[in-house]
């Protein structure tokens, strides 16, 4: 089962390596990882998607807490969280296909952020399945390049 784990860490050199190395050392697989500072520039937040049963998850969280630079760890419940991924897709496009691409972008809540002579770049920020849906729709137009961030997530309401 997939879990989204938020790890609040002190923003110190090497902390990303400590966290990611812990996953590999203990045999846990990271599916995606996103890192950035929080409102406090000395503190960063990592959002990690990992899969495993409940016992594995419990062990991951306990091991993370053992890292001195880790301040807080929590498992984000999927239904109570807002989750986003950002993707940018560069697709071959000419005048004929541009209209159709604009329509697809609109329907998917994406937008065209760059138009070149023979291609466009479409940006989407959405839940993972919507990002993947857009990707499928764009496949027939010949995707030149695609880049995706890891998932970020926040729990709804005032709970932290």
């Amino acid at each position: 089962m997939k879990h989204t784990i938020s790890v609040i860490v002190e923003n110190k050199p090497g902390v990303l390596h400590r966290v990611s190395a812990l996953f590999s050392r203990r045999g846990f697989n990271i599916e995606s990882l996103a890192v950035g500072t929080t409102a406090d520039p000395d503190i960063s937040r990592m959002t990690i998607v990992a899969s495993g049963d409940d016992q594995t998850l419990e062990q991951i969280i306990k091991q993370l807490y053992k890292l001195i630079d880790v301040l807080k760890v929590f498992d984000l419940p999927e239904l109570e969280s807002i989750e986003r991924e950002l993707a940018m897709v560069k697709v071959k496009a000419d005048q004929k296909t541009q209209t159709e691409l604009t329509q697809i972008a609109d329907t998917c809540g994406a937008k065209i952020v760059n138009v070149a002579a023979d291609s466009v770049i479409i940006e989407i920020s959405a839940e993972q399945d919507k990002v993947e849906n857009l990707q499928r729709l764009l496949e027939k137009f010949d995707i030149i390049e695609l880049v995706r961030t890891g998932k970020i997530a926040l729990q709804r309401g005032s709970a932290e």
């Binding site: 090497g14 400590r18 091991q63 053992k66 001195i68």
Partner: protein, 558 residues
């Protein structure tokens, strides 16, 4: 007052109460060694290999309870400490390892004697630091000692760039640490304590399984009180030897792969297993699903990650073992059970399946261990290497006091015992310190004989010499149809001559009737190490033996 980073380091160490460090100099620690040259209050012991320095610091820590400290240079010096650091990490030993690093402008350029020590040591340290700024040294040392010795202890590496050692700072040692992400839980949760007390009072066949956490926490006295109060027999892990007096009627000796048969039977039959400062290691549990199948489990440990890691726990208690045992005794107001039928059953097992071996005309290695116990009255600090001799020492010395057993349990490091004995002797100048060794292991750090001779340390080295890598040979005999692949050490050098060449005393003992006298004679030598090369039965096996993957009551006993 302005002082250099190197001076600040030494001052910081002294503030932490360090009066002894082990180490080996080199290019990137020259500023530190220059300070040590004039230093009066902090003694430096030159080992002959950085691995020796780490094991010595570790042996010092295990035998005294203090933080062991060692110093090595960058690159190869630091990589030579790796086995020692990993050994300490696996057994939760407090240690601070200071390594030199190339100057900050050279870091990352594949400079001479550069290695990514922080990267390399990260998985085998509790925490580590790269210090690039001299001003950080006091804070980092303060934090390093705090982290090393509190919570579940462990080794800390402090990697200091050479320019940070040279730069000047105004020295002020911090009063306290500020580590928001580090708050070990010391007091057990009261609801859990109540649940545990109730479970203990209801148990008909309870058993305590005590580990190294008892020693670390200084809880041997509390464990004894607790066990006696509730009439619960105690089996210990390898790391827990000395946590409970093995001459007590409730003592069941060691459990697990080479545990006493009665200890393993008790585990399989008990209805309540109280694990205290132990971690359900595979050498203890054998086939995990078959381990203690009839028992409910209480697990007391300071490290929450150990609870539920291998075995499902009914009542987990996170906390310091000593405080928890005290609280638990306060909480259990119920009349302690007598468990008469259970204790009788255990006595029957003890009588029926004692730890034993067959005597003949050769020197039996178990006999040597028994005689070491006899001549030292059980008062010695026993260090070991790793292998058959280690298991015989564990089975036959009958430990009664904490911090008298110094052995690499988790990592199983051959070559550990002799340098650890050096550390133990420095930490306990009046104690009799033995290294019980095998002929394979002793050759892995034999160079430290120079250190021991240099400092006139009266360490007794008892080599149980069977001209084999005995434990591997035993597995080959029992599991690989006697194909003794690369385990025959028939071309061993003359260990007596080697010891003498270093300036140590040495003797060879070949007959059982000479064993006791040789050991007694060794105790008279006070100004140099003594190596006793016991020619023992070549193909003696360690029994009981639970083959890997078997349940622990499925033992081979001879």
């Amino acid at each position: 007052m302005q002082i250099t980073g190197a001076q600040a380091l030494i001052e910081s160490l002294k503030k932490e109460g360090v009066d002894l460090v082990f180490g080996y100099p080199g290019g990137t620690v020259l500023p530190i060694y220059d300070v040590l040259f004039k230093e009066k209050d902090l003694k430096h012991i030159l080992t002959r290999h950085e691995q020796g320095a780490t094991h010595a610091a570790d042996g010092y820590a295990r035998s005294t309870g203090k933080v062991g400290v060692c110093i090595a240079t960058s690159g190869p010096g630091a990589t030579n400490t790796i086995t020692g650091i990993a050994t300490a990490y696996m057994d939760s030993i407090p240690m601070v390892v200071i390594t030199g690093q190339v100057a900050t402008n050279l870091i990352g350029r594949d400079s001479f004697q550069e290695a990514d020590v922080i990267g390399i040591t990260q998985p085998i340290t509790k925490h580590n630091y790269l210090v690039k700024d001299a001003a950080d040294i006091p804070r980092v040392i303060k934090e390093a000692f705090h982290i090393a010795r509190t919570g579940r202890p462990g080794p800390i590496v402090v990697d200091i760039a050479k320019d940070a050692q040279n730069n000047k700072i105004s020295f002020k040692y911090p009063d306290k640490v500020n580590l928001p992400g580090y708050n070990p839980t010391l007091k057990g949760h009261s609801r859990q304590l109540k649940a545990a007390a109730k479970m203990i009072s209801l148990a008909k066949k309870p058993l305590i399984y005590a580990g190294g956490g008892i020693i670390t926490s200084g809880a041997a006295k509390e464990l004894k009180e607790f066990a006696i109060k509730h009439n619960i027999p105690v089996t210990t892990t390898l790391m827990g030897l000395g946590a409970f007096p093995e001459d007590h009627k409730l003592a069941l000796q060691m459990l697990g792969m080479h545990g006493a048969a009665y200890a393993n039977y008790a585990v399989q039959e008990c209805d309540l297993l109280v694990a205290i400062g132990a971690r359900f290691d595979d050498r203890v549990t054998g086939h995990l699903p078959s381990f203690a199948p009839k028992a409910k489990h209480i697990h007391i440990d300071i490290d929450p990650a150990e609870i539920g890691k291998n075995v499902r726990i009914d009542v987990p208690i996170v906390g310091d073992v000593k405080l928890t045992l005290i609280d638990l005794m306060d909480k259990s107001k119920v009349e302690p059970g007598k468990h008469e039928a259970w204790l009788k059953q255990i006595d029957e097992w003890k009588n029926k399946y004692p730890l034993s071996y067959k005597k003949d005309k050769t020197i039996k290695p178990q006999y040597v261990v028994e005689m070491i116990r006899e001549v030292t009255k059980g008062e010695a600090i026993i260090c070991t290497e790793v292998g058959q001799h280690q298991m015989w020492a564990a089975q036959y010395y009958r430990f009664t006091k904490p911090r008298t057993w110094v052995s690499s349990g988790g990592l199983g490091t051959m070559g550990y015992g002799f340098p650890a004995a050096i550390g133990a002797q420095f930490g306990n100048p009046k104690a009799i310190v033995f290294d019980i060794a095998g002929d394979g292991s002793i050759q892995m750090n034999i160079q430290e004989m120079a250190t021991a001779v240099n400092h006139k340390l009266p360490i007794k080295i008892a080599v149980l010499n069977n001209c084999f890598l005995g434990m591997v040979r035993q597995w080959q005999e029992l599991l690989y149809d006697k194909r003794y692949s690369s385990t025959n050490l028939c071309n061993n050098p003359d260990l007596v001559k080697i010891a003498k060449a270093y300036g140590a005393e040495a003797m060879r003992i070949t007959r059982p009737e000479d064993v006791k006298k040789a050991l007694k004679d060794s105790l008279k030598i006070k100004d140099r190490p003594v190596l006793m090369d016991f020619t023992v039965a070549k193909e003696e096996n360690v029994f009981p033996f639970v083959p890997p993957g078997q349940a622990i009551n499925e033992m081979l006993v001879d």
